[in-house]
Symmetry: C2
Subunit: 575 residues, 2 copies
Amino acid sequence: MSPVKVVSCSCPKPKLYGAQNRAFSIQHSAFNIEEGCKASPVFRRPPIASPLSVPQQQALTFSLSLSPGKGCQSSINLWLAPSPILLLLLPLLSLVTPISISSQGALSSFHSYSQSVAPIVAVRFKNGSIKCVATPPAQQTTEAYTTKVSRNANMGKLQAGYLFPEIARRRAAHMVKYPDAKVISLGIGDTTEPIPEVITSAMAERAHGLSTLGGYSGYGAEQGEKPLRAAIASTFYEGLGIEEGDIFVSDGAKCDIARLQMLFGSHVTMAVQDPSYPAYVDSSVIMGQTGVYQKDGEKYGKIEYMRCSPENGFFPDLSAVGWAEIIFFCSPNNPTGAAATREQLTKLVQFAKENGSIIVYDSAYAMYISDDSPRSIFEIPGAKEVESSGMNPWLAEGEAFSSWSPMFSVAIETSSFSKYAGFTGVRLGWTVVPKELLFSDGFPVAKDFNRIVCTCFNGASNISQAGGLACLSPEGLKAMKQVIGFYKENTDIIVDTFKSLGFNVYGGTNAPYVWVHFPGRSSWDVFSEILEKTHVVTTPGSGFGPGGEGFVRVSAFGHRENILEACRRFKQLYK
Amino acid sequence: MSPVKVVSCSCPKPKLYGAQNRAFSIQHSAFNIEEGCKASPVFRRPPIASPLSVPQQQALTFSLSLSPGKGCQSSINLWLAPSPILLLLLPLLSLVTPISISSQGALSSFHSYSQSVAPIVAVRFKNGSIKCVATPPAQQTTEAYTTKVSRNANMGKLQAGYLFPEIARRRAAHMVKYPDAKVISLGIGDTTEPIPEVITSAMAERAHGLSTLGGYSGYGAEQGEKPLRAAIASTFYEGLGIEEGDIFVSDGAKCDIARLQMLFGSHVTMAVQDPSYPAYVDSSVIMGQTGVYQKDGEKYGKIEYMRCSPENGFFPDLSAVGWAEIIFFCSPNNPTGAAATREQLTKLVQFAKENGSIIVYDSAYAMYISDDSPRSIFEIPGAKEVESSGMNPWLAEGEAFSSWSPMFSVAIETSSFSKYAGFTGVRLGWTVVPKELLFSDGFPVAKDFNRIVCTCFNGASNISQAGGLACLSPEGLKAMKQVIGFYKENTDIIVDTFKSLGFNVYGGTNAPYVWVHFPGRSSWDVFSEILEKTHVVTTPGSGFGPGGEGFVRVSAFGHRENILEACRRFKQLYK
């Protein structure tokens, strides 16, 4: 639909509605024309049918880029009442509080850059036409001051918001629209079960200790505390040639991905699975590694999208993949739930070695693997070649020294406590950079990563690290496995539900994600349909890349009763 | 001194020494010829007199880049016994443990990229010549595999290691050399006093809560929890036009500086105070904003170094500063301790506005200010211009709405709980990006920063955030101020000591750092002299930029008895 001009602007003191009125809905990013700032005030209708198919009689949502003469500063958001007669307009400053409360904080990324609008505009909606009935205050007509600092062009390449805050916004909007609905969130992939007490006790103890002379500690090593690094190495990499010094403890895999991108810089090329966790692509765009977004293919230039679909067993046809310096590979995969087999990963490592590429392997869901798929890329010969034959000739007889001489590496591995121990909010992860991994000039990658970690990071919270260490104690491991087992039961329930409804269902066995196929349908349409009709939040597959179109990801993170209730509703909807 | 070739290589099974022997010293970065890998094995003597002036009869330290034929992988480090007769050689794998213990973890950044050397070489030292008596194992002679990924050229521009890990290494080396000395660390600027119990209790409670259904929380908003953002806004920015939505809670100011650099990208130009906190310059180099390091001036190309010295009252002569898009400005300053006055900051803001620059203002030490210097850049008219006249015309009469219409901004402010609450290990900070701060095209900086925070970060630990909220409670604020008061007493003791010894001393009044002038001397020489003769670790001024040459920074973070003891030793040395 074409833009509709605001035809008149004059209104003395419109009332502020909305804070008490619950019958509105938000759809912030569905339609954002803020980029058009500097132009005359325009008002456009969002695409009604897509991405959210809200019946026109129920509620419509608008996003307005306001440029009152020369005083344009930011965007303003408008909400429509269900009745087409009256449009309620809310300046964000009054809206922030009630919305944030109802969304439990999920909207803060939203209003953090939207509440800047001072001029208040009331808009009436009538038969599809728009009429502005307010005028901005006089002082808004002065020229807005801008710095002379150019916006980073790479930021301008990014499409819409980061996926998960976007989902959170839609969820919040839905909750505002249906304040009495019991919304179940199987979208963001956020853990829901309490952290086992053996782990929280260790954190509480560490916290208490910080108030004592003996227990206080200040700056820790940027790479993490030595006992935790050692425990990670021995728990997850025993016999794989990975040692304590190869482990960099962090505040989470997402953060490490950004640091890895800083390390690689702007001149490398990337390959990603399609679909994949959006942080890989988005951080690549931010670092300037990519070209612009090509709307027709829904891809960024200069990124190799390795299609993973049911047709290829969710493992890319490597013969069709062009050369890329860095290959992001996530297994078990988010979002498809597919875990690559040993044979597949062996092919991947060979491919990387032949091409001289570096694999960045995301194993954040490895503990969800039920079958004999590898838990770590370093299980694959060649990912980190370990000298297995012979003893260290310099050791006296009888002194054993296993795996002391790894030869080379083609891989980095990043992982996290988030989905194992419910640490999504506690923040703790790690990245393995084998010291044998070398740039083309022979310089060790780990040495540069260490410099990044020391310069751009200051270590994970010491309290979180105490929790991580407790996770890896015998009791902690047992407790983590119980929580993981619980979520895996959830997965089974979801898989069974969709299978019983006749859907083709993927993932689930080795991952907390179920990848449901809706052939021929738009992911966002399905997402909206499910949300609207069942009040269950999922994640549209296309949010993970064009290869996710036609799929929806259902997360198994949830309380049991919610999973069961969601499945009942799915059965109702798709029976 | 010229390199000495390793003349022969053959030795069957040398013993591994060092783990039990305490009489060695490390000086890793003093001399690193790893870049020479691929060449024949070479062995060089470090510059004895500089940067550490270790008397030749006591101990010497060597760093060896080992390239045994074609199998070169990384560097190896050697240690000399004090006696010139015997040289003890330690493969890092055996060395790591004892060294790390003695250094309390500070060395981990060191061995994380040094323990990769498998071949063990024994070296004897005799009359200044070097003889290799071991040969690498046969399998080391195969060609080392390198990927085809080019090293990020920006990383290659960085000089040596990040300053503070380097200081930590030297401290650890000193402790190894003088195992019985009571080393006092006034170097890194790490807090030492326990965190007040009111704050740790809140963190422990939050940790415990995470093991309950009601208290569990997963992913929080990337920008921080709403109550904490609100508390930061009201505690530090009341009446300054900064609102909850402008606050981005983080895991520390250093991390936020890196994220700001990602935001700005590689095409901006920077200005920094000289001397200044090294993270500004180093992160700028990493992002590719700078030219190469120019050894003669000790500066990177394309950075504006704004000299701050006693001659100009530690405030730069802005008429001599070339145009830069981003101006990093830290007040109270690290390392000089100088707090800029209101008049000076007004000049700075005017300068930024005239030039269209963005100020990134680091106020991490603001609570240490004793006089009436501004605590925030937003106290300065123009840094964030607030419409003070008139009411919001859209509010009904009687509805007050202060600061509702800020007009523009030229500044970002970053700060931290680290030096207020002893949170150096807990990790919590924040950055203020006013929504009115606009790029040259009118795009809000905060909107891009929000995207960075959502894509490259996942929020600070929820437990740390609970601690931050407790810090800002009335009891927490009182307790923080007591701790700050304690450190400020330390500062007075240090200032008095150096003044009584006839030194020109700066800083101290408004900051936990004392900036002592040693005119005409090399900072690293003074650092070494103080360390060697008093076992007190300081920080050489030149580590903060060429403008710091001739100064040493003495941190006031320490237990009282250590401060007193250090001052006694200073008096002994410089009486």
